[in-house]
């Protein structure tokens, strides 16, 4: 018997409530004191298709989903055929016996098939077949031996806004499923047990983490255009708009969105543009506008596989070099790629400080995996006390009152940063322009003035580089193989490294890059100096981080583990790397 180490997968069509049941069950497990990692897998459609949600539970913190499935809750026939081979020995497939399932599909080595009339039970208890997912969750509680109370409390919270009748119906449905599950508990070896004295924990995805950080850091203007998975950040901000005084503008397109953010930032608001790669493509000219007008804006790109529409609801890290080089011409920019939710929270507020301090755009790279996967995070993991709001060289009313000389918005300074006045003060009336300009902001084509402004802007890179953190090392200081990765690959790679080292001590460690630009060259040189074999692990086809490392350090990686089928890494996928590594 195994306790508190399993994955439950619920699968059905779009519209079956697969994601909400998965999320709800994760929350219930967390309320019961377990750590969870929940990952939705869905198609770009509103009805039909095959959606599933993987709920992984453990007593230790989880950073990733994993491949083996112990209990499959099948709301459709397709769920059975697609996932039958992923079920571990001793595992079970629970399916709605109202489905027309041909007997030859109900065959698998060492797994049991349990048909229960989910739809009938849902109709009898909740009055609607829609509650069959609730019946299934009740069954999962019953068969794993997990207390029903946490799930009941989640149902009460989640259905409260739909009225007491819906709450009662779902409570009856979950109870019926639970009783049915208990009947099969003796034959099911995977158990979930409540941890009674566990502290309460947050259950959230990387979008929530980043958005919370951004709000805490003073983000007060958000302009965007819906695009999966960047829209989730737009939704989060919209949901908190009124209560926290944040202006949200759903613009007519991404070109408008970035330009609106630049306008708001020019007037002094901390402005954010959430998007995905396709939207960012439309923003590229605006990015350059922010660069030459030295306007602080934060662009958040939750990547998905491209090019063009690509795979809208899937995962990839294909935009690194694009984000780094986007726009004609040259100007300084920051590129941050948080890998953990703790890092995403910090990136949320830090991005605005960096943008203000250096008066230049800050690009934050996330991806679909990070944007949608939920996990338990300790209540104090996001340090709101450490949040600072640093507006850099922003002139106050008193500073402006004291100005005697005519104000030079683009004054050439040693740091490259020119003290910034917000429009509105009589002593600092100025023009910003997308043309090259002199210190006042007047258009110029004078070669010396042009070079002076380019130098001034690029000089910011010195200070910016000092803001960058070195890649963090995880695992033993010396190892046979050093993986390098960035962004959300942190999660599955961390677990893979732990498991590899558990088999053979000193087998692997990894360097996690969360600050990508300005590139922390010295620190990377130092870290890679002692590395024996360096292997890049990236969710793209061309190893973009490896390219960046080589460009800046001269060091080539010795191997690459790349995944670009639209799916995220699992620890198992990385652990079988000997089979997959390419040079």
């Amino acid at each position: 018997m195994t306790t508190n180490e399993m994955t439950i997968r619920v699968g059905g069509e779009a519209g079956h409530g697969v994601e909400s049941s998965g999320g709800g069950f994760c929350k219930a497990l967390a309320r019961g004191g377990l750590h969870v990692f929940g990952l939705p897998d869905y198609y770009s459609r509103i009805r039909g298709g095959h959606n599933f949600f993987s709920i992984r539970a453990s007593e230790r913190p989880l950073y990733s989903h994993a491949e083996p499935v112990h209990l499959l809750l099948a709301l459709t026939e397709e769920t059975i055929t697609r996932h039958r081979d992923e079920i571990v020995e001793g595992g079970a497939i629970v399916y709605d016996s109202n489905l027309k399932v041909s007997p030859e599909e109900l065959v698998g080595d060492g797994i049991q098939f349990i048909g229960i009339p989910m739809s009938d039970m849902a109709k009898e208890t909740a009055g609607t077949v829609l509650a069959r997912n609730t019946v299934a969750l009740g069954f999962a509680s019953g068969v794993t031996g997990f207390d029903l109370d946490p799930l009941q409390s989640v149902i009460r919270d989640n259905f409260a806004r739909k009225g007491q009748a819906v709450v009662d119906g779902n409570l009856a449905a979950v109870e019926a499923g639970y009783q049915e599950g208990k009947k099969h508990a003796a034959d099911f070896p995977f158990k979930l047990k409540r941890i009674p004295d566990a502290p309460p924990r947050m259950v959230l995805n990387g979008t929530d983490a980043f958005a919370m950080g951004a709000l805490a850091g003073g983000c007060r203007f958000v302009a965007g255009y819906p695009m999966t998975p960047g829209s989730l950040a737009l939704h989060w901000m919209a949901a908190h708009s009124e209560r926290y005084g944040v202006v949200i503008k759903h613009a007519e397109d991404e070109i408008a969105a970035i330009n609106m953010a630049i306008g708001a930032a020019h007037m002094g608001a901390r402005a954010l543009v959430p998007t995905s790669g396709g939207g960012f493509s439309l923003m590229v000219e605006g990015l350059g506008l922010a660069g030459i007008t030295e306007t602080p804006v934060v662009i958040y790109n939750a990547q998905r596989p491209g090019p063009a529409t690509g795979l809208p609801t899937r995962n990839e890290q294909g935009d690194l070099l694009f984000m780094l080089h986007a726009s004609q011409g040259e100007f300084p920019r920051f590129l941050l790629a948080p890998g953990t939710y703790e890092e995403a929270f910090v990136a949320g507020w830090r991005a605005f400080n960096l943008a203000d301090k250096y008066q230049t755009p800050v690009l934050v790279l996330s991806d679909h995996y990070m944007a949608v996967a939920i996990r338990t995070v300790e209540m104090d993991a996001f340090d709101f006390d450490a949040v600072e709001i640093d507006r850099g060289e922003l002139l106050s009313e008193a500073d402006l009152d004291a100005l005697s000389d005519s104000y030079l918005r683009f004054r050439v300074t040693e740091s490259g940063v020119s003290p910034r006045a917000l429009p509105g003060h009589p002593r600092a009336v100025y023009v910003s322009t997308s043309n090259e300009h002199d210190e006042r902001g007047a258009i110029t084509e004078d070669p010396e003035l042009r070079a002076a402004q380019v130098d001034k802007r690029m000089r910011k890179m010195i200070g910016m580089a000092e803001e960058m953190s070195a890649p963090s090392l995880y695992g033993p200081p010396v190892a046979e193989t050093t993986f390098v990765s960035w962004g959300s690959t942190y999660g599955p790679l961390r677990e893979a490294v732990d498991r590899l080292n558990a088999r053979v001590a000193g087998r692997a460690n990894f360097l996690h890059f969360a600050d990508l630009w300005p590139f922390p060259t010295e620190a990377v040189n130092e870290a890679l100096d002692s590395a024996r074999q360096v292997v890049a692990v990236e969710v793209n086809a061309t190893a973009q981080l490896a390219t960046l490392i080589r460009a800046n350090t001269g060091r080539s990686v010795d191997g690459r583990i790349l995944r670009y089928d639209g799916r995220s890494f699992t620890p198992e996928y990385i652990m079988s790397w000997e089979l997959r590594v390419t040079r």
């Binding site: 929530d208 202006v247 609106m260 306008g263 002094g268 709101f384 429009p423 509105g424 322009t433 258009i443």
Partner: protein, 289 residues
């Protein structure tokens, strides 16, 4: 008391002699002085084109951005600080070509922007290509056999999209144009001021001698500016007689910014930017437990 002299800039315009942009520049200065709006009390957002250099040639807060995009920059600025006047100044290629979408959306949102479009019906800065408001048949470097596209009707489009102030001026009638811009500055929502202006270098057929005998003032007719269908009809009048003046004006439509919940407490940038209070942090955490 603000005077035209308050807007004097050390920069000299780079426009051709006789360009309609001089009229627009002077009319803006006159209107601002008449409305007692000082250089720091307004920000002028412009696009790219000869006329979009306006803020460089006067002392005023300006943001000279990208071709076609001044309206969204201005909209963002308006939402960040609705305590300051916001104007856009751009050409017909900028406003009715690349920026046509932004124009339509700004109009329907009724956001507080005075949108001055210098409509010379040709591309000047890129040297004489036909524009979205050029006459069909116009021969230019990109239409050597004559333009096929039918022109954009900006005023009719603005009315259709729900604009609450739709006007047209003429660069050859400076005082009238200044009056129109002044009226637009008094209007609370989105205000379009389309300005007919000659391009003496690249659009010779539409020079002063074309417009002078044709333009007539709507104020001198019995036109009812609150009558949408009458406004629409006048907006499409083009030929021997070309109307200028206020085509449509209604003041009872709420502006976008006054309906944004987060702006009820005043301009966004005037509120102190402080860390979240402990109870707000608790609230955020409680949402995800």
């Amino acid at each position: 008391m603000v005077t035209r002299q308050d807007f004097k800039s050390p920069e000299l315009p780079t426009w051709c002699k006789g360009c309609g942009n001089y009229g627009v520049l002077n009319a803006i200065k006159m209107a601002l002085a008449e409305q007692d709006i000082a250089p720091q009390q307004i920000v002028i957002f412009t696009g790219i084109g000869c006329g979009s250099k306006v803020p460089h040639y006067m002392k005023v807060n300006g943001f000279h951005g990208l071709h076609g995009r001044p309206l969204p920059v201005a909209a963002g600025a308006r939402l960040a600080n609705h305590g300051i006047k916001i104007m856009t100044v751009h050409g017909d290629g900028d406003g009715y070509g690349m920026g046509l979408g932004h124009f339509a959306h700004a109009a329907r949102r009724n956001i507080g922007i005075v949108d001055v479009v210098q409509n010379n019906r040709v591309y000047g800065l890129t040297r004489g290509q036909y524009s979205p408001t050029s006459d069909p048949g116009m021969r230019t470097p990109t239409s050597p056999e004559g333009a096929i596209d039918r022109p954009v009707p900006p005023l009719a489009l603005a009315i259709t999209m729900g604009a609450t102030f739709v006007a047209r001026g003429y660069a050859g009638e400076l005082r009238h144009l200044a009056w129109l811009i002044g009226q637009a500055l008094q209007h609370t929502g989105y205000a379009l001021v389309d300005v007919l202006q000659p391009c003496v270098t690249f659009n010779r057929p539409s020079a002063y001698d074309f417009y002078n005998p044709r333009v007539y003032r709507l104020e001198e007719t019995d036109h009812d500016m609150t009558d949408k269908s009458a406004a629409w009809k006048r907006a499409l009048e083009w030929g021997d007689r070309i109307p200028i003046g206020i085509f449509y004006r209604v003041e009872d439509v709420p502006t976008y910014e006054e309906q944004v919940p987060a702006l009820k407490a005043g301009p966004l940038v005037k509120r102190p930017l402080v860390k979240l209070r402990p109870e707000q942090v608790e609230e955020l955490r409680a949402e995800v437990v």
